[in-house]
């Protein structure tokens, strides 16, 4: 469930904690280590933490119920 933090890249600055519009991270005990994601099911997939992470250590995973539905498009008609 989102977000996913690469622990060896994370510098523990907790910018993500401060910026999340829906408080997915909650209040953290201490900086300097990767934050605990206390409320992952409340992610809005806005990408704020992904954009603003100075270590580029965060990515999102879209949960299965939210997966988009797609099919092959019909063959393109030859024109011109």
């Amino acid at each position: 469930m989102p977000p996913i933090i690469e622990k060896d890249k994370c510098i523990g600055c907790h910018k993500c904690v401060d910026l999340c519009p829906v408080d997915v991270y909650g209040v953290q005990e201490k900086k300097g280590c990767p934050p605990v994601i206390r409320y992952p099911e409340e992610c809005w997939h806005c990408n704020a933490c992904v954009f603003d992470c100075p270590a580029k250590a965060i990515r999102l995973r879209v949960p299965a119920p939210l997966a988009m539905v797609f099919v092959d498009a019909p063959e393109r008609k030859r024109e011109n």
Binding site: P21, W44, C46, M68, A73
Partner: protein, 559 residues
Amino acid sequence: MSGMKQNPPLECDVLVAGGGVAGLMAAIAAADRGAKVIVAEKANSKRSGSGATGNDHFLCYIPEVHGEDPSEFIQEMESSQIGGNNDMDLVRRYVDECFDRVKDWDAWGVGMREHGDWEFNGHAKPGHLKVWLKYAGREQKPIFTREALKRGVTILNHHPFAEVITGEDGTVAGGICVDLTEEIPKMQVIRAKSVVLATGNVNRLFGSRTMGWMFNMAGCPSDVCTGRAAAYRAGARLVNLDMTGMGAGCKYFNRGGKATWIGVYSDIEGKPLGPFVTKPSKEYGDLAGDVWREMFTLKNSQGEPVFMNCSEIQDEDLDYMLWGLTNEGNVATMDHLKEEGFDFKKHMVEFDAKDGGSLGGGIDIDINAGCTVPGLYAAGDETGNFRADMGGAATFGHIAGVSAAEYSQGKENRNAEQMPAAAEWLEKHSQILERPADNSCPSWKELNVAVQQVMSDYCGPYVRSEHMMQTGLTHLKRLQKQVERMCAKNSHEFMRCIEVEDMFLMGELAFYSAMERKETRGRHRRVDYPFTNSLLNQKFVTIEKSDKGPSVGWRDKHK
């Protein structure tokens, strides 16, 4: 009783509830007029609200583009997805001022014309005036935050607004917000001469397509209706709460949006479904999803899924679409599709009318963004008689800030923290933290799911009737007793609990409003009153607090 801890009161001229686009625009405008401004923000204003990581369009009238006479522009605006419930005096003021706000944003560095000149693409009908300016909003929130701070505005991040405090004379004396910066929340009273409510849309009152995944929403799921609820409790009039609607966009992933997609709504064989376009068009998009929401339910009932078909898009237009999606907060959508092996030229993605309804309407404002309570203002998605999304937030945010600053001049701050509203709030909300946080008391989540069920099933966009609504309202009121027994063990849960309180109030007011309109109008589908009564054209349902409870009334739409 020990009670919730309190911070010492703070003081300002203009208190802004919510640091979204409308709130920051209000704060900037008020500070420019010399007011001392505090913004109470639920998260962090750099990335909060429905504009957190970008938006796509800004409804904007530019005389050089649209001609000196704005009447055709206004006509197009009223027939678009945001039209219908707008007071026309507010529309005219909007049209007069919106380009000034676009110019402000351009000057501050928001991407208002990233391809050289103002461009009006998408949300458009062939042969009609194009009214939606396409812009790149990805960095808008950090920019507005910087502009506010530059002007001396104090932004209290992680301090959601909760309540308006009025004095004995009924005028605004301040507000209450909650300090969430530590594990246990604290009450924060702010003395203020005026309050601007800008807490955004109502996003978790009705269910999403993925019931249970409550935060799967197009708009910010932390925006729930706080300002509307606080305005009502302070005595302000709300309007158009009987109206409902539904969004459209990518099926299941509700973040997806629709307006930036350059494709054609098609059936599985690639046959276009709407009357507007037959090939992907950067200029028009496909308006069918904006103005024909029945397309989805109708086609589904015929056994046909509806697809967004971009397969015939030109390379240049595909680049433009990807630029648009990147700048309107849809990077997660693109990453997801990429991971799944989606190819815009080979596949088509299913679209859908994606939610169990929404709450139309909100706070009733006058042409200066004033509410019916002196000293109280509202702007943005929060208002019930004007809607223009980001442009509305920008333009009426600015107007609200100017009005609040002018109102505050020459007034004195009062001891809001000693007023009865403050003591009542403290007593009621201390209990949320004092109740045992075990299974003996309901959690916010339980009640949030419950209210979504009631609203979608009994007051939603599919079937409404006196009997359905009577039944739903009875159930809602029974559930409300459980709201009074909610518990929270920390700041996060406390924030969600007060959101749920407000949602139950707004749900109740929506039921009363919808019961009053005994006709069918748009998505307000009264199966017991199936006709659209032309005597009720241009008439709005209002609701305000009285000694006997919610008092429902009517007013004319302003010409």
